[in-house]
């Protein structure tokens, strides 16, 4: 998994400037910032608000509305386990319970050492090869407890 940059106001300003000119720019701007820094750092909020002529509350409201935007970076690895119905039908509940035990952390949380974030995701569109997950951006289907253990062990 690629590392993220440390907070640099100049870099953030450049990213904002690169995306601010388009119509409805806020989501593209926030995506660009998160892709660079791994989250939307607090000091980025007033910068974004200023550039897009919004209030800080507007920007905070958008960041907190969408599940994807993080206010703190995720762990070095991110495991997103699908918890929607098609995956439930294929043993998703047991798989989620196993994942929580194996990772030592509940869904929606990051391990204390910052190694791994385990999250629920609602549908990857891999519903005919359920249950499925997105592991550091790679899609994995037909998961079993054994296969999930193998995937988790293979993480560097």
């Amino acid at each position: 998994m690629r590392g993220f940059a440390m907070w640099q106001p100049d870099r953030a300003a450049a990213l904002i400037a690169a995306h601010a000119g388009q119509d409805g720019a806020l989501l593209p701007v926030l995506h660009a910032i998160q892709a660079e820094f791994g989250c939307i750092p607090d000091p980025a909020v007033p910068m974004v608000a200023d550039a897009l002529n919004l209030t800080r509350a507007d920007v905070h409201g958008v960041i907190s509305f969408y599940h994807d935007f993080r206010e703190v970076p995720a762990g070095r690895h991110v495991v997103k386990l699908c918890r929607a119905e098609a995956c439930q039908a294929m043993g998703g509940d047991a798989l989620a319970a196993h994942a929580e035990a194996a990772c030592g952390v509940a869904l929606g949380h990051t391990t204390a050492d910052g190694r791994l974030t385990l999250e629920a995701i609602y549908c990857l569109g891999l519903c005919a090869t359920a249950p499925s997950a997105l592991v550091d951006g790679e899609v994995v289907g037909r998961l079993t407890i054994t296969k999930l253990d193998r995937v988790l062990e293979a993480l560097p």
Partner: protein, 519 residues
């Protein structure tokens, strides 16, 4: 002799190892000093056979699957023998019953062509629809779409052509085509398959829409959960632009139209069209009250066509073959084909495009082959997380907007999720309320508060606290949500909840149904 092999690059195939299979085939070929052409296609949609590898032979393609990287050597041997024997040999893909029984119109090319080859696209009928639209003119193009009977494939089922007519007639400084690619319903993946496997058909469909209504800008609002679709569609748009199929001079300068992909941020409610428009504008994805309709005041307050991926991707074949050939398929007011997605605990899961009218029982038992677990089918959820759970007793319901509505269900975006007899329907009802709570945009009270109260009430029912009163309360709450919510999230969450309660009362500690409905 040169050998051509096809391996899907569809996310569903990649999730079960297609990339490793492709790499193993290339390695096996290089060990033999053999030059092979490896074409990465979309998926045919026969997911239980993925990764499925196809070999070009003089008599057509021969398929093998599901292939493991360890099979590469032997598979190459079979390929060299002209599609010869191998324990995974499936024969001609078109003859596999699951595919043979389909009517592939929208998915005519998916799994066959290289999704990023415009030459391939054109060689398989691509851009004939736009060509015919240009010769018909704008008004006649819209009437073709009206005549075809195409209804919104996202779930609402509103006639696509009527939307276009409204936008064409609306006054506005600028008009937009917005493609709703926020395919969040569990059990659905047809939008993803098209965007990954045949993205030019979506681009062509949007271009026809733009020509017809006079729009010069298109957005595809694509969910972040689909990284492969985002990458493929962006590549396809760049290729189309490079060939002048998008940009300031489309069709020899007859009009200007360009498309931009906007990535969502993990909010299910943005699949609701007005929440999607707010999200595109850079706001919280909150639902707007209607009227005004998006056709009158949509994106940035301008007249906007907002259609689902499959609706737009069905337009090119309608234009190319004529409205009548599409309208003649189907039943009742549901015309044409529907890409039905068989998912969950099902033996033969995948994409099944067929004319409306096929029954739920045919889909699940016959085409789908029953459950993957081999246990009896107990419940089927049709239409995503807001769709009703159907028991076996309702398996005679034909796939048709009105027939499902008549049985308190909906076809939605065409997802069919199968559960075996280990399912606990009270838990599924609880999940429906919990999911509504997680994804509620918060704008209206019945959805925002009702979903939370719904979870609490169902928890009390599960614990056996004062059941008769709690069951009455749940029904009352569902009515409030159904009639009081602003959009389908709060308004339709009662469908899975009430259907679970009605058809499987024994899971809620009530008496089982005395007599099976519908029989």
């Amino acid at each position: 002799m040169s050998l051509t092999l096809y391996v899907p690059r569809d996310a569903g195939a990649l999730a079960v190892g297609a990339e490793a299979v492709a790499a193993a085939l290339l390695q096996a070929a290089s060990r033999r000093g053999l030059a092979i052409t490896l074409v990465r296609t979309g998926s045919r949609g026969l997911y239980w056979l993925e990764p499925m590898v196809e070999v070009a032979t003089p008599g057509g393609r021969i398929a093998y699957g599901p292939v493991d990287p360890a099979d590469a050597e032997a598979l190459l041997e079979a390929a060299l023998a002209g599609g010869g024997a191998h324990r995974l040999r499936l024969g001609a893909p078109e003859q596999i019953p699951f595919l043979k029984r389909q009517t592939r119109l929208t998915f005519a090319r998916c799994g066959i062509t290289d999704p990023l080859s415009l030459d391939d696209y054109r060689a398989h009928g691509g851009y004939l629809g736009l060509q015919r639209a240009l010769s018909l003119g704008t008004a006649a193009t819209i009437e073709e779409v009206v005549e075809s009977g195409l209804r919104g494939r996202g779930g609402a089922g509103f006639p696509t052509g009527i939307k276009w007519r409204t936008v064409a007639a609306a006054e506005g400084a600028r008009k937009y085509i917005v493609c709703n690619a926020d395919e969040g319903d569990s059990g659905t993946f047809s939008d993803r398959m098209v965007m990954e496997g045949d993205p030019f058909v979506l681009i062509e469909g949007m271009t026809i829409a733009a020509f017809a209504v006079g729009a010069d800008k298109g957005y595809v609002y694509l969910r972040s959960e689909y990284p492969h679709a985002i990458a493929t569609l962006n590549d396809a748009i760049a290729l189309a632009r490079a060939e002048g199929l998008l940009g300031s001079d489309v069709a020899g300068g007859r009009f200007a139209f360009d498309i931009e992909v906007r990535v969502g941020a993990g909010a299910y409610v943005c699949g609701e069209e007005t929440a999607l428009l707010d999200s595109l504008e850079g706001k919280r994805g909150q639902v707007r009250a209607k009227p005004p309709l998006p056709a009158h005041k949509g994106l940035f307050g301008q007249p906007t066509v907002i259609n689902n991926v499959i609706s737009l991707a069905s337009v090119p074949v309608i234009l190319a073959d004529g409205a009548a050939s599409y309208r003649d398929i189907g039943m009742g007011r549901s015309r044409g084909t529907m890409p039905i997605q068989l998912a969950g605990n099902i033996r033969h899961g995948g994409l099944f495009e067929a004319g409306f009218g096929v029954t739920l029982g045919e889909l699940v038992d016959d085409i789908g082959g029953g459950t993957a677990s081999g246990r009896p089918v107990r419940a089927v959820q049709v239409g995503g997380p807001l769709g009703a759970y159907f028991p076996r007793a309702l398996f005679d319901t034909p796939f048709d907007y009105e027939a499902f509505a008549a049985r308190d269900g909906l076809i939605g975006h065409g997802g069919v999720v199968v559960f075996d007899d280990t399912v606990d329907m009270a838990r599924q009802a609880r999940f429906a309320m919990a999911f509504c709570g997680i994804e509620s945009c918060g704008k209206c009270t019945p959805c925002r508060i009702g979903s939370v109260r719904g979870v609490e009430v169902i928890d009390r029912i599960i614990r056996g606290e004062d059941r008769p009163a709690q069951l009455a309360l749940l029904e009352d709450l569902c009515n409030t949500m159904k009639f009081g919510s602003l959009c389908a999230l709060g308004g339709f969450t009662p469908y899975p909840v009430m259907s679970a309660l009605r058809h499987f009362p024994e899971d809620f500690g009530a008496a089982p149904p005395a007599r099976v409905a519908a029989e």
